[in-house]
C-alpha cells in the first residue's frame, strides 16, 4: 500500500520533491515516458482553468435552479478590492465556487478527486500560480503531488462520499491541495505531509448530506471551505508547524470515522441538511417537477 510517509522518505533520500517521486513511479507503472504524463497533467490543468473561467459567468444556472452566480459575485468583490482578506483570498474562494458551479451546471470539469469536490485543487493551484507568479510547470508538478496524496487516500481509505461522507471528498481534495501548495511554495516533503495531515484533520467527520440528492447544496460552498482550509493548513506547514498525528494515521482515522457514519449521512440525501424542513421542501418541489 502506498503511504504518505513512504513518499516523504523516498523524496528525502533522493533529494527531490514528492511530485518527482510520484511522476517517476507512474512512468514505471504505466510504462510511459515522463514527458507524456507531464503533458497529460498539463491538459488537466488547462481543463481546470477553462472550468474556472466558465463558472465565473453570472448567468450560469443549474437545471434545478439551486446553483449558479455565486462565483461571479465573489469574484466581482475581489476584483473591486473589497475582499475581506485581500483579493487573493477572494479569488481562491471565487474559483472554488466557479469550478463547482460549472460542474453543477453540466460544464466540463476534472474530477479531483471527485466531481463533487472538483473546485478545491483548481482554486488553490491557479490562485497560487497567479498570486506568486509561478510558471505553469510548478502547478503541473503540484498536481502530481496532489495525485500522490490522493492515491494514498484512495488506496488506504476512500474518496467516495457514499462510503466515507464529505470528509472523504472535500476533505481529501483539501488535503491534496494543501500538500500541493506547500510544494509549489518550496516547502519540504515533510511539510507537504504535515499540510495534508492538518487539512484532513480539520474536516474529519464532515457528512455528505446533499439536498434532493443533487451535487449542489451544500457541495458547492463546501468547495470554498475546502480551499480556505487547504491554504490555512499550507500556511501552518510552511511556517514549520507540525501535525501531532502523522498523515497516514489521519487517513486511517478518516476511514474509520467514515465507516461509523450512519448511511443517512453518506450521500443518501436522508440526513443532515437534506433532512431539514427547507431541504425536504426543495426536494419535494424538485421531484414534482422531475416527474417524467
Amino acid at each position: 500500500m502506498p503511504s504518505v510517509a513512504g513518499y516523504v522518505k523516498k523524496a528525502q533520500e533522493q533529494g527531490v520533491p514528492i511530485s518527482q517521486v510520484v511522476l517517476e513511479e507512474q512512468a514505471r507503472e504505466q510504462e510511459q515516458p515522463k514527458e507524456m504524463l507531464e503533458e497529460k497533467m498539463r491538459q488537466m490543468l488547462q481543463v481546470m482553468q477553462a472550468s474556472a473561467k466558465e463558472g465565473e459567468n453570472p448567468q450560469l444556472r443549474s437545471q434545478s435552479g439551486l446553483t449558479g452566480g455565486a462565483a461571479a459575485k465573489v469574484m466581482e468583490r475581489a476584483r473591486r478590492g473589497e475582499s475581506l482578506c485581500g483579493p487573493y483570498f477572494g479569488k481562491a474562494v471565487a474559483r472554488a465556487l466557479a469550478v463547482s458551479e460549472c460542474n453543477a451546471c453540466m460544464g466540463r470539469i476534472v474530477a479531483a478527486p471527485t466531481a463533487g469536490s472538483c473546485g478545491i485543487l483548481p482554486a488553490a493551484l491557479l490562485t497560487i500560480m497567479e498570486e506568486k507568479e509561478l510558471p505553469e510547470e510548478k502547478a503541473v508538478m503540484g498536481l502530481f503531488t496532489a495525485a500522490g496524496i490522493g492515491t494514498v487516500i484512495a488506496s488506504n481509505a476512500t474518496v467516495s462520499g457514499a462510503q466515507g461522507g464529505c470528509q472523504a471528498e472535500v476533505g481529501s481534495a483539501s488535503a491534496m491541495a494543501a500538500a500541493a501548495v506547500v510544494e509549489m511554495m518550496g516547502g519540504t516533503p515533510q511539510m507537504c505531509a504535515n499540510a495534508c495531515a492538518i487539512a484532513l484533520k480539520n474536516v474529519l467527520g464532515l457528512v455528505c448530506d446533499p439536498v434532493a440528492g443533487l451535487v449542489e447544496v451544500p457541495c458547492v460552498k463546501r468547495n470554498a471551505m475546502g480551499v480556505v482550509n487547504a491554504l490555512a493548513a499550507a500556511e501552518m506547514a510552511l511556517a514549520g508547524v507540525e501535525s501531532a498525528i502523522p498523515a497516514d494515521e489521519v487517513i486511517l482515522a478518516m476511514k474509520r470515522v467514515g465507516n461509523t457514519l450512519p448511511a443517512t449521512l453518506r450521500e443518501t440525501a436522508e440526513g443532515g441538511l437534506a433532512d431539514t424542513p427547507t431541504g425536504r421542501k426543495i426536494a419535494h418541489s424538485f421531484f414534482q417537477h422531475e416527474a417524467l
Partner: protein
C-alpha cells in the same frame, strides 16, 4: 493506481455516477446495436428516476447512445441533437427487481427494425456494470476490450471461439456464458487483455453456429 484516476477523468458534471457513468452505459448500448439507432426507450430505475433530470442523467444516456464520450461538451444539448439526427427517445420510470439504484434499461432500434435491450448500472465514480443484454445475464465493466458472441447452445462453440482467439495470440482475462435455456441461444462474454484487430471478429463470424459477434473497445 493510476494518477489520472485521482486527477481525472475530465467529464461533464455534475455527477460521476449520474452523469459520466450514464454516458458510459449509453455508449455500451449504442455499441451493441448494429447500425445507427432511430428509436430508444429508456427506463430509469431508482435514483436515476428520482434525481436523474437534475443530474442530466437523461441527456447523458442519450449522448452515450449516440457515441459521445463523458467529456463531450455537447452532452447538455444531446436531446436536441438526437432530434436533429432523427433519433426518437422516450423516457419512462421503471421498477426493476433487485437492481442497483442507478440503473437504466435501454431498448434501441435501428432502421431495419433490429433491436437490442441493455440493462446497466452506474456503480460509482463513473464505473459501470452492464447486467443484461437481451434478457441474458452478463457482467461487463467496459474497462477491458470485450467480445460478445451470440450463438446456438451446442457442444464445441466455446472451444472453437477460445481456440481461434488463442491461435491469434489473444489472451482471455474473463469469461462468462449465459443462456436462456439448454440448446437455445447463448451469449459468451469474453474480456480480453488486448484489443484484437477486426480480422479476428470477422473470423469468428464465419463459425456456423454464431449469429452475432461484437467487439467493444474499452470505454473512455
Amino acid at each position: 493506481m493510476n494518477v489520472f484516476d485521482v486527477i481525472g477523468p475530465v467529464m461533464i458534471g455534475p455527477s460521476s455516477s449520474h452523469t459520466a457513468g450514464a454516458v458510459r452505459i449509453g455508449n455500451m448500448a449504442g455499441a451493441l446495436l448494429p447500425g445507427k439507432p432511430v428509436r430508444a426507450v429508456i427506463g430509469l430505475h431508482g435514483s436515476f428516476a428520482k434525481t436523474g433530470r437534475g443530474h442530466g442523467t437523461d441527456r447523458a444516456l442519450a449522448a452515450g447512445i449516440m457515441g459521445m464520450l463523458p467529456s463531450d461538451s455537447d452532452i447538455p444539448r444531446s436531446l436536441e441533437i438526437a432530434k436533429e439526427r432523427g433519433l426518437d427517445i422516450t423516457f419512462e420510470e421503471v421498477e426493476l427487481d433487485g437492481a442497483h439504484p442507478n440503473t437504466a434499461l435501454i431498448q434501441l432500434w435501428n432502421r431495419k427494425g433490429e433491436m437490442v435491450t441493455v440493462q446497466g448500472a452506474s456503480v460509482g465514480g463513473g464505473e459501470i456494470l452492464i447486467n443484461s443484454i437481451d434478457g441474458m445475464g452478463v457482467e461487463i465493466t467496459g474497462n477491458q476490450p470485450t467480445l460478445l458472441v451470440l450463438h446456438r447452445d451446442v457442444p464445441g462453440v466455446i472451444a472453437g471461439v477460445t481456440n481461434y482467439l488463442a491461435m491469434n495470440g489473444v489472451n482471455i482475462g474473463g469469461f462468462k456464458l449465459s443462456r436462456r435455456k439448454k440448446g437455445d441461444t447463448a451469449l459468451m462474454t469474453l474480456e480480453l487483455d488486448e484489443l484484437p484487430d477486426g480480422s479476428v471478429t470477422d473470423g469468428i463470424r464465419c463459425f456456423p453456429q454464431i449469429s452475432r459477434c461484437v467487439l467493444i473497445a474499452p470505454l473512455q
